[in-house]
Structures are given as C-alpha cells and as structure tokens.
C-alpha cells in the first residue's frame, strides 16, 4: 500500500515535470527536467516489482545512468557545440502548449479509466501518466522548432513508454528492457550526430530550414 | 427469279420511254410559261445529235472521266431490271433486291462524282460535293420508306413490296402511312434527279447547282450517256412512286400497261407543274427538306407499329 502511494507520488512528479517542460522557455532547463524525469522513472521499478529484485535493480541503475546522466550530457554537448540562442522557439506559444498538455493529460486519464486493469494495478496512476507523457512528447515534437528540442521531445516520448513498461516489469524479460534502453541510447546518439551535421551545414538548428524536400 | 417474256417488254419500255418523260416535263413547263415549247420527242433528237458528235477531253482527265458515264449507265440499267412497272412484277426479283437497287444507284453516283472531280475544275467539284452530301439524306429517306413497305408486305423484294399497297391500303392507318411514304418518295425523286425545288436543270449550266454542273466537261456521246442515264433514273423513280399513288390493278394486261404509261406521264406532268409554280430552294434549305421526308417515313413506320 505504501509502495503504491509512493509510486503514484513519483508519477505525479512526472506529470508536473511534463507541464514544466511544455512551459519552460530555456533549453537547458528543458534538458534538466528530462534528466530528472529519467531519474524518477529509474526509481519506480524498485518499488513495484513483485519478485526478481536483481533484474529490477539492474534496470533501475541502467535507466538512471542513461536517462539521467549520459543522454542529458550528450544533449548538453550538442547544445554547446551549436552556438545557438538558449531560448526555445515554439511554433505556437508556451501557454497554448501548456493548455494542450493539460488537456492531453485529462484525456489520457479519461481514456485510461476506460481500460480494464489487472487487480494489482488498479490503484496505480501508471497508465494515465504514461499516456500523458507520450502526449507531452508529441507536443514537444510537433510545436518546437529547434532540432535539439525535438530530440528532447523524443526522449520524453520514450519516457512515457517506459512508464507503461512498469506494468510488465515482471513479464518483460530483462534482455528486452536492456535492448530498449540501448536502442534509445544509440538513437539519441545518432540524432545528436545528425544535429551536429545540421548545425555544420545550416549554421543553425532551425528545422524551418529543413523544408526543401516537399511536393 | 427471272422470267424472260416480261424481260423483253420491260427493257423495251426502260430503254425507249425515259427521254419522252423529259419531253413531257418540258412541254408542261412551256405550257405554263405560255410558250409552245419543244416537241415531245426533242430529247431523242438531242441524244441522237450528241451521239454523233466528237468528244473533247480535258488534259487533266484520266480513265475515270471516260469510265464514269459508262459505269453509271450500266448500273442504272441493271437497277432498272429490278423495278416493277405497274401491275407487272419486275423481270428480276429476289429477296433483298431493294438493297441492290439502292447500291447500284450509289455506284452510279460514285462514278459520276469521281468523273466530275477528275477534271480538277472548281465548278464540278462544287457540284460533286453537293451531290454526295444530299444523297446521304436522300438514301436514308429512301431506305426508311422501304422499311415501311417491308413491314406492309413482309417481303424484301421490290415487286411484292410495291404491290403490297393493293392489299394493305384498305386499312385506314396503313393508308395514312402509305400517303406519308408516297410524299417522301416523291421528294426523294425530285432530289435524286435534281429537279426543282432542289435544283433547276433548265438554267444555264454554270448556274445549276448539282447535277448539270458536274457534267460540264463531258461532251458528245459521253454527255449523251449521262443525260440518257439521268432520264432512266427519273423514269425508274417515277415508276416506284406510281405504285403508291394508284395502288390497284385493272386485271387486263393491256389496260394495265396503258394505266402505267398514263400514270408515269401524269407524274411527269406533275413534276412539270411543280417546276413551273415553285421556285428553287436555297441550298441550305435542301437538307431540311430531305430530313423532313425521312421524318415522314419514320411517322409511317410508327403507324405500322400500332
């Protein structure tokens, strides 16, 4: 029971971080928030696993390492290399995006309540939190202009999916979890390389310049 | 089938009478104009004179120019053997001979117009163009009339078809249908022989619009053939129309022959009268006249359906 409330507490934190990420205007803060979210996610498996502590522990460590430290560092490096203004340029303003995010959260909660859950997951906020985070990721991806902010959006999207994975921390084999994390890592790695090249070719990370291929 | 005893009489009439028809027409017109006019046999004299004359050919012409009148005349003569005269069946008759009749006429037209174009003269080209253009409508009208008669007679041969009215005309509706067909056929007759109101044969050659202008360059015997053929064509169509205006027989062969001659003469007089009292139509108006005649036949056809 205690575990459950603790987990929900963490998830609420995650949701708040979502809104913050949608609202903030500074890329550095955005990266911080994403990293913090990663750390929070890393803690959750330790709380909700039934058995197989070892795997849960390993996963938690890997998650915290990757999402909390390594990936944010890569992003910061990309940011440093690209000599760009630290402001986030939204396609639509911050307030509208926040409102959309809030709306998305509400919808996710409503939608999640439609779906039947296993008895041991009834009280948990996992499903709504996961969907809300996914929506947040999408919002970052679709409303932000700088390539790097989109990368962060992708990271947040993955976080949301990771949250859903908590439901299956027992069913899901260790190998797959690690594989997923590894893929995420490589993905972000390749993305940051491409960001590097974009910056070199276009002297900016403004994706509005990446619109020469069209009908 | 062919029966030879009528064949002789038939061809005798076919070859002898047509120029006389022209004479009758001219006399009628003269009478209306208050002149004495040429003697009835004048056309024979003209033909005889032409056949004696020399020929002059344009340098641009080829064998088509010479072949045209010859083939036309032969086609018309052959067609003539299919047409029943008065109460008598045609010497040659078989199921489907009506198609042969129409297509022989068409063959004649093909060569007349080809010969006209062979001279390369603008006038004759003009005439040929009008001839073929109006024929499209005239042939449609003619065939529409034939369809009605086929429905009357249940036969596909000219002789039974044109003798059918004798039986059918008792019925009121069919009498109406027959009347429509008769009018249409008469219009076709005028058009095919380029008489007024479609064309005026008696004007000076260059000013006539269709037939005469096509034969500008023909001279001597060839011209004679052409005129002779035209006369035969007129005679044949008049014989066809005759069946519809007096659809009965007297029973006695001699009387029937006389009735036939009188009838054809009467039609010739009628043509003469029309030529005297009517003016020539504007060229643009000719198609509507022919279409009208075709429509009459369609009405006749519809009447046969009820």
């Amino acid at each position: 029971m205690l575990k459950v409330s603790a987990v929900n507490l963490l998830l609420v934190g995650v949701l708040l971080l979502n809104l913050f990420m949608l609202g903030t205007s500074r890329i550095r803060a955005l990266i911080q928030a994403a990293a913090l979210q990663g750390v929070l996610l890393g803690v959750i498996p330790l709380l909700i696993h039934q058995h197989s502590e070892r795997n849960a522990g390993l996963i938690a460590i890997a998650t915290v390492l990757l999402k909390g430290t390594v990936i944010p560092r890569m992003l910061r490096r990309a940011l440093r290399e690209a000599q760009i203004k630290r402001e986030i340029e939204p396609l639509i303003g911050f307030v509208p995006t926040m409102l959309l995010g809030a709306l998305g959260t509400l919808l996710s909660i409503a939608f999640a309540s439609e779906l039947p859950l296993e008895p041991q997951h009834r009280e948990l906020l996992i499903v709504p939190a996961s969907f809300a985070t996914v929506v947040t990721g999408f919002l970052l991806l679709t409303t932000r202009i700088k390539a790097i902010t989109q990368a962060i959006g992708y990271l947040v999207l993955e976080n949301g999916i990771f949250i859903f994975g908590m439901l299956l921390v027992d069913a899901m084999p260790f190998l797959v979890e690690i594989g997923v994390l590894l893929d995420l890592f490589v993905g972000i790695f390749v993305v940051s390389i491409i960001i590097h090249h974009i910056n070199r070719e276009f002297a900016s990370l403004d994706t509005r310049r990446l619109a020469s291929l069209k009908e | 089938m062919i029966d030879f005893q009528t064949l002789l009489v038939h061809f005798a009439l076919l070859l002898a009478l047509p120029p006389l028809l022209l004479g009758v027409i001219n006399r009628t017109k003269a009478w209306f104009a208050g002149r004495r006019g040429p003697p009835l046999l004048q056309p024979y004299h003209d033909l005889a004179r032409l056949f004696r004359k020399e020929m002059v050919f344009s340098r641009t012409t080829t064998w088509v120019f010479r072949a045209g009148p010859v083939i036309t005349l032969s086609a018309i003569l052959l067609a003539g053997s299919l047409v029943p005269f008065g109460a008598f069946d045609a010497p040659v008759r078989f199921s489907g001979d009506l198609v042969l009749f129409v297509y022989l006429m068409a063959l004649g037209r093909f060569f007349t117009t080809a010969a006209a174009l062979d001279t390369g003269s603008a006038f004759e080209g003009m005439g040929a163009a009008r001839e073929v253009s109006f024929a499209c409508l005239a042939e449609a009208a003619l065939f529409m009339a034939f369809v009605v008669l086929v429905r009357f007679s249940g036969s596909l041969s000219l002789s039974p078809m044109f003798h059918a009215p004798m039986i059918a005309s008792l019925h009121g509706l069919s009498a109406a249908a027959l009347f429509l067909v008769a009018v249409a056929l008469f219009v076709v007759l005028l058009a095919e022989n380029s008489r007024i109101p479609v064309d005026d044969p008696s004007t000076h050659l260059e000013l006539t619009m269709i037939h005469e202008v096509m034969v500008l360059d023909h001279s001597g015997p060839l011209l004679g053939l052409i005129l002779y053929g035209a006369a035969i064509k007129l005679f044949l169509l008049s014989a066809l129309v005759l069946h519809l205006v007096l659809p009965f027989t007297l029973g006695n062969p001699l009387l029937d022959w006389l009735a036939f001659l009188a009838g054809v003469g009467a039609i010739a007089v009628g043509i003469g009268v029309i030529e005297s009292v009517m003016a020539r139509l504007r060229l643009r108006a000719v198609p509507s006249l022919l279409i009208a005649s075709a429509v009459l036949c369609v009405f006749g056809f519809v009447l046969t359906l009820v």
């Binding site: 999408f138 679709t142 509005r208 619109a211 069209k214 009908e215 | 020929m55 002059v56 050919f57 344009s58 340098r59 641009t60 012409t61 080829t62 088509v64 072949a67 005349l73 032969s74 086609a75 003569l77 052959l78 078989f94 199921s95 489907g96 001979d97 198609v99 042969l100 297509y103 022989l104 068409a106 063959l107 093909f110 080809a114 174009l117 062979d118 001279t119 390369g120 003269s121 603008a122 080209g125 003009m126 040929a128 163009a129 073929v132 253009s133 024929a135 499209c136 042939e139 449609a140 065939f143 369809v147 086929v150 429905r151 007679s153 249940g154 596909l156 360059d217 015997p221 075709a294 046969t304």
Partner: protein
Amino acid sequence: MTSMPSAIAIELAAALCIGLSGAPGCLRRRMRAGGQGTATALNLIGSAVGFAGLVLHARGGETQILLLGSLPVGRLAFALDGLAALFLIPILLISALGSLYGSSYWRDAEHRHGGRRLRLWWGIMGASMMAVVLARDAILFLIVWELMALAAFFLICSEEERAEVRQASWVYLVATHAGTLCLIGYFALLGHAEGSTALWPSLGSDGSDWLPTSLFALGIAGFGLKAGLVPLHVWLPGAHANAPSHVSALLSGVLLKTGIYGVVRVCGLLPDPPIWWGAVLLGIGAVSGVLGIALAVAQQDLKRLLAYSSIENVGIIVIGVGLASIGRSLGRGDLVALGLGGALLHVLNHSLFKPLLFLAAGNVLHATGTRRISSLGGLARTMPYTFVLFAIGGIAICGLPPLNGFASELLLYVGLLRAAGVDPAHGWAWAGLAAPALAMIGALAVAAFVKVTGIAFSGTPRSPATAHAHDPGVAMLAPMAALAGGCVVLGLFPIAAVPLLQRAVAAWDPVLAIATPPLPVLAPLGWVSAAGAVLIASVAFVAACFGRRRSEPATAVTWDCGYASPTPRMQYVDASFSETLVGLFDWAVRSRRVLPELPGPFPPASRFESEVPDAVLDRVVLPLAGATKRGLSQLRALQRGPVQMYLLYLLLTVVILLMVAP
C-alpha cells in the same frame, strides 16, 4: 476428331514461327542491316503453315482443348473453333503481306534505329494476336492480350523521335491499359461467377441479374476500347495516322478485330440475353458508324480519314453482332445467322480493303512525303497503279457492287429488315431503324472516298513533291494487288466464304444454328454474283460500243466557264468538298475555323484555316484530364516539408483510430 489437336498444334507452330520472325535480326550486330529478308520469309512461312492448319481444321470435326501446361494461376489451354478460325485468317494474311510490304517500305537504310525493333515487335504482335483468339484460359488470355497491346504500342512509336508520335502512342497506351483493367475486372468477376478461369463459359441464366449485366458492361467497355467504338475510339485516329503505314494496316485490319472477337464472345455469355443487350449494341454500332464516317469525311489528313473510316466499319460490324444478339434473345436463328454472318464477313472484308487502303496511303506518303490531302492531287497520272488499287479499295469499302463490301452489308440489311418486317410476331420492329442508318453510313462513305480519290488522286498536282511522285516497286505493289484480288473475288463469289461463316456461327450458338437454313437460302448471295457479272458485262458492252469509234479525241484545257488558264490552286480542296456535310454534322464534329477579316475594299493577303479535332478526345477527355490534374495538385499542400506536420499526422492517426475503436 483426332485431327483437331494437330490443327491447333500447327497453328501454335505457325504462331511461334511468326513470333520469332524478328529475333534473328536482333542477334546480328548493331548498325548492320539485320535479318530483313529472314523476318519476311519467316512471316510468310508462318502464315502459310497457319493456313494449312486452317484447311486441316476445316476438314476435321469440332473443337478440342489442347493443354500445354500451367501458369501461376491459370492453364496454358488453347482451342480452335470456327470463330477462332475465322479470326485467324486476317491475322495470318496481313502479318505476312504487311511484312512483305514493310521489307521495302521500311528499309534499314532509312530507319537505322527502328528497323530491327519494328520487325521484332511485328512478329510478336502477330503471334500474340493468334494466341488471343486461340486462348481458352482467362490468365493466358490476359497475358497474350497485353503482350499484343504492348507490341502494338512499340510498333506505333516506331518513330518516337517525333513528338506527335509520342503523344499518339501515349494516348493509345492509356486507352489500352484502361481496357486491360476493365478486362481484369471482367475475368475476375467471371471467375467469381464460374469458379474457374476456363474460357469461354456460358453462364446459367439463373444467375442474379446484375452479374451478367455488369459482366456485359465491363466486357463491352474493355473490348470496345480496343475495337474503337465511339466514344471509346479516342486512341484510334492518332495511333493509326502516326504509325508506319504497314503497321497502320495491321492495327486497323487486325488489331481492331481482336476487340470485335472479344465483343462477340461476351455476347455469347448468356444463352438467352435480355433483348436490350442487342439494342444497346445496335445503338452503339449505328452511332459509331455514322459519327465515325462523318468525322472521316471531315478529315484533311489521308491516314486520319482512313482511321475514322475504320471506326465506321467497326460500327457496322457491331450492328451485326447486336442483331445476332437480338436474334438470340428472340430465338430466331435466321437473325443470328444473318447478323453474325454479316458481321464476320465484314470482318474479313474490312481486313482486305482497309489494309489495301492504308498501304496505298503508305505509297503516297512514301512518294510525296505528306499526308495532307489538300497538298496532293493528280496522283492518278503519276502513280497509276497505286490509284487503281486505291480506287478498288475505296469502292469496296463503300460497300458498292460488284466488290466485297456489298456482300456483307447485304447480309446485314436483309437481317435487319427481316427482324423488322418478316414474321413480325417474333420480330423486333425497331431493328428496322438501323437500316436507314446503315444506308446513311454507306452514302457518307461514298462521300468520303469520292473526296479522297477526287482531291488527292484526280485533278492537277498541288505541290512539286506531288508532281514528281511515282509508283513504288513491285515488292510494295504485289501485296496490295493480292488484297485487291481478294476484294474482287469475295465480291463476285461471296458464297466462297459461307462455310467459314456457318462454322463460326455454329461455334457461337450451336443450338439455333442447327435449326436454321443455310445462309445462301436466307440471303441472295447467288444473285450478288450474278449482278456483279452482269454489271461487268454491261460495262464492257457499253465501253465496247464506244471503243470501236473514232481515233484519238481532241484534248483541251478544263472548261472553267470561260476562264482560260486555271491553276492548281483554283481546284476544289477537301475542306470545301466536305463543308456541307461538316455543317450537317456540326453538332458532333465541331470543326474549328479561323476566318480572315477583310478590312477595306483592297484587303491584304489573308488565309482561312479550318481543322477538325476529335469530338471526344479533344473536347472531353483531355480537358477532363487537365482538370483532374489541377484538382489533385491542390492536395500536394499536405506534404509541405516541416517534419512537425508529419509527426502530427502520426498523432492524429493514433487518436482517431483509438476513438473509433469499438
């Protein structure tokens, strides 16, 4: 009985021989005159073998299927029945004569690039057309059908360096692909109804009524596109006009007939089709005939004129097929025999005189370098043989006695009139209305071909090239002479074709065919021969009466009503010749005119131009296509470039799908 498979085998061997005729040439090194003789020889041999096979088939009994193996979903099934045999004749004839003609018309010396490719596809086309009529399996049929279509495409764009050729071949390609798609639908539906891909099945009439109807519609659309029925004829004029002339001959003489073949098979689908099938076909046929020939009269391009007259002839043939279908619905064997017999006889006839005309046009094009009728003239003097052959073709195509066109049209007239008038109780009177239409078609055909012979061949030359034209060599004249001979023979002795027709009709509708008197009883074919003979005799006689007179007659300049020195430019030209008729059909033909404005009493030199666009292609299809393209290009805004937009599509898709999820 046992001779039958061997007959099929012989036909297939012939097809193989023809199909490979172009291959040896391609094996030679480039730029070396390759295998022209070989190709022609193989074509001739192949068609000889094919005719031998036909003779064998004529001896032997009824149809048997020859199975050679399997395809991914179908079987390699062939069969040779009366109908197929009849359609094989034009294929064999024209592919042989055409290649003979082409061997000197399309020399490698003049056509370095195209030559060997043309011969290759020529062979393939001949073979695939044979396979089309022999095929007895839907998949096999579609394969050879498309092979034929592609071969025709490559033949049409033999001179692809010319823009108009590319345009014409493109229009053809779209049309034929549309047709193929219709046929794919047709055979898919047929397979659904029959449960097999075997051809040609006859459905039980108990099937739900919409299925045969939709099959009929699909079949007529698919095959009608190939046959060139109005309004599906859009590809035909351009393709025929721009292909090499012997290819035009093959297209018009044979390719269109495969479409007719399909239409005939489609009409054989039901044992007792609804009468409106036949009525629709009669209507389509009449419209195609009248409009086709009306447009032909209006044409100013020799080969386009011939192409439109092909549409007219296809219309005539389809009238016959419609009559046969009506006869089938009424259970009247005489109508079936006369309608289908007339149609098939006209198929044979048209495959004689139309190639003849196209080859003659080829001679003219070869000698003068132009297809414009109004710049020709006087060819009767410079190219006498070509003129005679063209005239024979022209008279025949107008259906005038004593040539072959008359016999087939006579059968149709008799059939239509019998349907209207004879035994009215079991008749369908409205069929009678098609007879005047046919008569009008005939008269218009006379107008069209009088115009060509008169303007292009008679008179005086209108251009220097025309003045120095000359007849081609015997290698080009001989095939034409053969075709002309065919026209005369079939015209004088149509009886000769009767056994073929009887077998074909029997293959199409065995039930009614048994109870029907033979064609010569139904139609006066004997009288046709007699009339022809008498006509020729009387012409000879009258001519003789003049022949013995006088020495050389005097010659003079054409009498131009007193004007002493007429020039070639004063002659009547084709546009003015057809002016009246174009005016008469203006509602369909819609000619474009550029009238000169004549300012003041002494106007400067000015010109009058008129052209006749295709009623359907230029006024309906192309504008429609343009509008569609513009409409679709509006949708391109969906892909403007920003990746955010694309990601939004993903999100929306997911959301919508989750909303509609049950």
